[in-house]
C-alpha cells in the first residue's frame, strides 16, 4: 500500500533507451535500521506525531543560539540554513520535476551579485539617495534578486527543454560555469577576482542585523518561509504537474500537461529560492567573490538533496544539516588539522558509502502525499 520504491527521477529518460531494464531500483542493504526514524520524519505515523516533531524541530532551531555561545558554530548554523533553502530549492527541480540540474549555483551567484552590484551602483552614482537611509533596499533586494534568478532560470531552462537526462545535466553545468567565468572576468561590473566587499547588512531603520545572533534568526525566518512556500507549491496543481512529468513525461503530456511550461516553471521556482539565498548570503557576509560560486558548490547542493533523499520535503533539509555540520565538525580533530586533505578524503568516502548502503538517501525518497484528505482516510483505516 505504501509506495516503497525509491524514486528515480531520471527513470523516464533511462527507459527511453530501448532494452535498458527499468525495474524498481534495488533498495539499500542497510535500509531497515534507518527506516523507523525516516518514517517518523516523513510522517508515516499518526498526524499529531508529525506536527509535534515539526514543532520540536522548530523549537530546537529557535533555542539554538541561546545555547550555543560559540560564534563559529552560530555562523555555521546560519550557513546550514542557507544550504537548507538551496537544497530544498534544487529539490524542486531535481526531486520533484526530475530534471538533473548541475548548474544550480548560477542562480545563487545571480542573487549574490545582484545584491553586490546594486550596492556598488548606488554607492557610485548616489541617485540622490543617502546610503544610510537605504535600509529598506536590503529587503527589497531579497525579492528582486530571487525574481532575477527566476527569470534567468527560465531563460537558461529554455534551450534545455529538448534535452533529456545527462545531456540536460551537462548543459545546465555549462550555464553555471559560464556565469561564474563571466563574474570572474567582467571586472567593470563585478570587480572580477577581487570580489565586492562592504555589501550592506540587513537592517530595519537603525536596527542592523550585525551580530551572528540576529542574522541566525533572520536566516531561520527566511528558511521557514521558503520551506512553507515550497511545501504548498509542491502540493498544488503545479506540484502535481511536476510530479507527473518526473514519473512519466510522455504520459504527462498525453494527460494534457504542457510539459515545457511546467518544466520552465520548475526551473524558475527553484532558481527563485537560490536567488533569495544569494542575496541573503551577500548581505550576511558582506562579501561576494567568484570563488563562492564554483561548480563544486553545485555538486555539494546536489549531494545534499540526494543524501537526504529527494522527492520529499524533509530529505534536503536533513541532508543539509547533517552534511554541512559534518564538514565543519571534522575540522575539530587534531589529526585533520595536521593533515587537512584527510578531511576531503573522509568526505569523499562517506559520500560513496552512503550511496552504496542507502542510495535512496537518509530519509529515503517518499512521495509527498498529493491529497491530504485521502491520506488521512488511509491513516484512519490503519
Amino acid at each position: 500500500m505504501e509506495q516503497n520504491k525509491p524514486l528515480g527521477p531520471l527513470e523516464p529518460a533511462e527507459s527511453a533507451r530501448p532494452g535498458v531494464p527499468t525495474e524498481a531500483p534495488e533498495a539499500g542493504r542497510f535500509r531497515a535500521p534507518l527506516n523507523p526514524v525516516a518514517a517518523l520524519f516523513t510522517g508515516r505515523g499518526p498526524e499529531w506525531v508529525r506536527y509535534a516533531l515539526l514543532g520540536g524541530v522548530l523549537l530546537v532551531a529557535a533555542l539554538l543560539p541561546f545555547v550555543i555561545q560559540s560564534d563559529r558554530w552560530l555562523t555555521l548554523f546560519t550557513i546550514v540554513l542557507i544550504y537548507v533553502v538551496l537544497a530544498s530549492g534544487l529539490n524542486i527541480v531535481v526531486g520533484f520535476t526530475g530534471l538533473l540540474d548541475l548548474g544550480y549555483v548560477a542562480f545563487y551567484a545571480i542573487g549574490g551579485y545582484y545584491a553586490a552590484i546594486i550596492f556598488v551602483q548606488v554607492l557610485k552614482n548616489g541617485f540622490g539617495l543617502d546610503i544610510s537611509e537605504m535600509w529598506w533596499l536590503t529587503w527589497v533586494n531579497v525579492l528582486v534578486g530571487g525574481g532575477l534568478a527566476a527569470v534567468a532560470g527560465s531563460l537558461i531552462g529554455y534551450p534545455t527543454l529538448r534535452l533529456r537526462g545527462d545531456y540536460l545535466a551537462i548543459m545546465t553545468l555549462a550555464f553555471g560555469e559560464i556565469i561564474r567565468i563571466v563574474a570572474n572576468n567582467w571586472v567593470g561590473l563585478t570587480r572580477g577576482p577581487s570580489g565586492v566587499s562592504g555589501v550592506p547588512k540587513f537592517a530595519i531603520g537603525d536596527f542592523v542585523f550585525k551580530t551572528n545572533f540576529r542574522s541566525y534568526f533572520l536566516a531561520l525566518a527566511l528558511a521557514v518561509i521558503s520551506l512553507f512556500v515550497i511545501s504548498r507549491l509542491v502540493r498544488s496543481r503545479v506540484g502535481r504537474a511536476w510530479t507527473a512529468i518526473r514519473d512519466d513525461e510522455v504520459a504527462a503530456a498525453a494527460m494534457g500537461i504542457n510539459t515545457s511550461r511546467y518544466k520552465l516553471l520548475s526551473y524558475s521556482c527553484g532558481a527563485f529560492f537560490a536567488g533569495t539565498m544569494g542575496v541573503f548570503f551577500g548581505q550576511y557576509l558582506n562579501f561576494i567573490h567568484p570563488s563562492n560560486f564554483k561548480l563544486m558548490e553545485s555538486f555539494v547542493m546536489l549531494c545534499l538533496v540526494v543524501l537526504g533523499g529527494m522527492g520529499g520535503l524533509v530529505g534536503p533539509v536533513v541532508g543539509a544539516v547533517i552534511w554541512i555540520t559534518l564538514q565543519e565538525w571534522l575540522r575539530d580533530f587534531e589529526f585533520i588539522q595536521l593533515h587537512p586533505e584527510v578531511r576531503g578524503m573522509v568526505m569523499g568516502i562517506v559520500l560513496v558509502l552512503l550511496m552504496i548502503f542507502r542510495p535512496q538517501g537518509i530519509i529515503g525518497g517518499r512521495r509527498v502525499p498529493l491529497y491530504r484528505k485521502l491520506r488521512r482516510e488511509r491513516v484512519s483505516k490503519e
Binding site: D166, V250, V352, Q360
Partner: protein, 312 residues
C-alpha cells in the same frame, strides 16, 4: 598566417589530449550510463605517476623518496597500467554496488570518488604544483624543446608525438571495439546488458575491461599533458576532465570516433577562440561551454550520436 597555423597546431594537440580522456567517458557511459566524474582525477594521477617515475627523487607524504628515474615512455606505460587498475578498483568498490540503484546515486558516488582521489593526491604528492622533468628525446642539450617548422609554425617533437600517439590509440581502440571478440561483447553489453548476459557475455568483466581501458587512456593523456605543460598539480584534472566530457557529449556520447572528433573540435575552437576573439583568452574556458550549448541546442544528441527514441 603563421599565428593561425601555430594556433591550429596547439589546438590539435590540445584536442588530442581531450579526446584521449573523452574516450574513457564515452565508453563507460556507453555501457553503464554513468558520468564518471573521477576520470579527471585519474588523468591527474597519470601525470603524477609519470613525474614520480621519471624523477630521481620525489616527495611522498612529505618525505623525499628515491625514484628509479626510468625513461618517459616506460613511465607512461607503467602509469597507464597502475591507473587502469585503479579505475577497475574504483568501479568494483564505488560503482558496481550501485548498478541497480537510482542513477543519481551513482553520480553522487562518482563525485565522492572524485573528491576522495583529489585529496588523496594532495596527501601523497603535496598540494603544490610539481615540475615535470625534461624528456631527453624531446629536448636538446640546452634544455630547449626540439621542433620543426611547418608553414611558419613551430611544432615540437613532443606535440607531434602526442598527435601520433592519439591517432594510433584511436585506431587501435576502434579496431578493438569493432573487430575483436571482446569488443563485440562490449558493444552487446552497451546495447542490452541483460540479453548480453544471456548470450554468455560476462557483463561485469566487460565493464571492468571498459574501466581499465578508459582509465589507462586517461593516464596516457595525463602523462602527455604533464609533459607538454611541464607540471602536475592535484587539482589539474578537474577542468580537462570536464572539457573531455564536453568533447564526448559533442561527438555524441557512447561513440569513440565521436569522442575523437569532439575533442579535436573543442581543442581547435578553444585555441583559435583564445587567440582571435577579443578578450578570448580570459573567456577561454567559457568558449568550450558556449560551443556545447550551441551544438546541443541544434543537435541534442551530439554530432555523431544516434537519436534516442522518445519512449521505448
Amino acid at each position: 598566417m603563421e599565428q593561425l597555423t601555430q594556433q591550429l597546431v596547439n589546438g590539435i594537440m590540445l584536442g588530442c589530449l581531450y579526446a584521449l580522456i573523452a574516450v574513457g567517458y564515452t565508453m563507460v557511459y556507453g555501457i553503464i550510463e554513468l558520468i564518471n566524474f573521477a576520470f579527471g582525477e585519474l588523468f591527474m594521477f597519470g601525470a603524477f605517476i609519470c613525474i614520480a617515475l621519471t624523477s630521481s627523487e620525489i616527495s611522498l607524504f612529505g618525505s623525499m623518496v628515491g625514484m628509479p628515474q626510468i625513461s618517459f615512455f616506460l613511465a607512461v606505460i607503467v602509469s597507464m597500467l597502475v591507473v587502469g587498475l585503479l579505475g577497475v578498483a574504483m568501479e568494483r568498490l564505488a560503482y558496481r554496488p550501485l548498478r541497480n540503484a537510482p542513477r543519481l546515486a551513482a553520480l553522487i558516488s562518482a563525485i565522492g570518488m572524485s573528491i576522495f582521489l583529489q585529496n588523496l593526491a594532495q596527501s601523497v604528492f603535496g598540494s603544490q604544483q610539481i615540475k615535470f622533468p625534461d624528456i631527453p628525446v624531446f629536448t636538446d642539450s640546452a634544455g630547449m624543446a626540439k621542433a620543426v617548422t611547418v608553414l611558419g609554425a613551430q611544432v615540437t617533437y613532443l606535440q607531434l608525438f602526442v598527435v601520433v600517439v592519439t591517432v594510433v590509440a584511436m585506431i587501435l581502440l576502434s579496431l578493438f571495439v569493432n573487430r575483436t571478440r571482446l569488443g563485440r561483447a562490449m558493444r552487446a553489453s552497451a546495447q542490452d546488458k541483460r540479453t548480453a548476459a544471456l548470450m554468455g557475455v560476462n557483463v561485469n568483466g566487460i565493464i571492468a575491461v571498459t574501466f581499465l581501458i578508459g582509465s589507462a587512456m586517461g593516464a596516457l593523456a595525463g602523462g602527455l599533458y604533464g609533459a607538454v605543460y611541464h607540471f602536475a598539480r592535484p587539482d589539474m584534472g578537474f577542468v580537462p576532465g570536464l572539457k573531455a566530457f564536453i568533447a564526448a557529449v559533442l561527438g555524441g556520447i557512447g561513440n569513440i570516433p565521436g569522442a575523437f572528433l569532439g575533442g579535436l573540435l573543442l581543442g581547435m575552437v578553444e585555441s583559435l577562440g583564445a587567440a582571435y576573439i577579443p578578450g578570448g583568452s580570459q573567456y577561454r574556458d567559457a568558449i568550450a561551454f558556449v560551443i556545447l550549448i550551441l551544438i546541443l541546442s541544434f543537435k541534442p544528441t551530439g554530432l555523431l550520436g544516434s537519436p534516442v527514441s522518445e519512449k521505448a
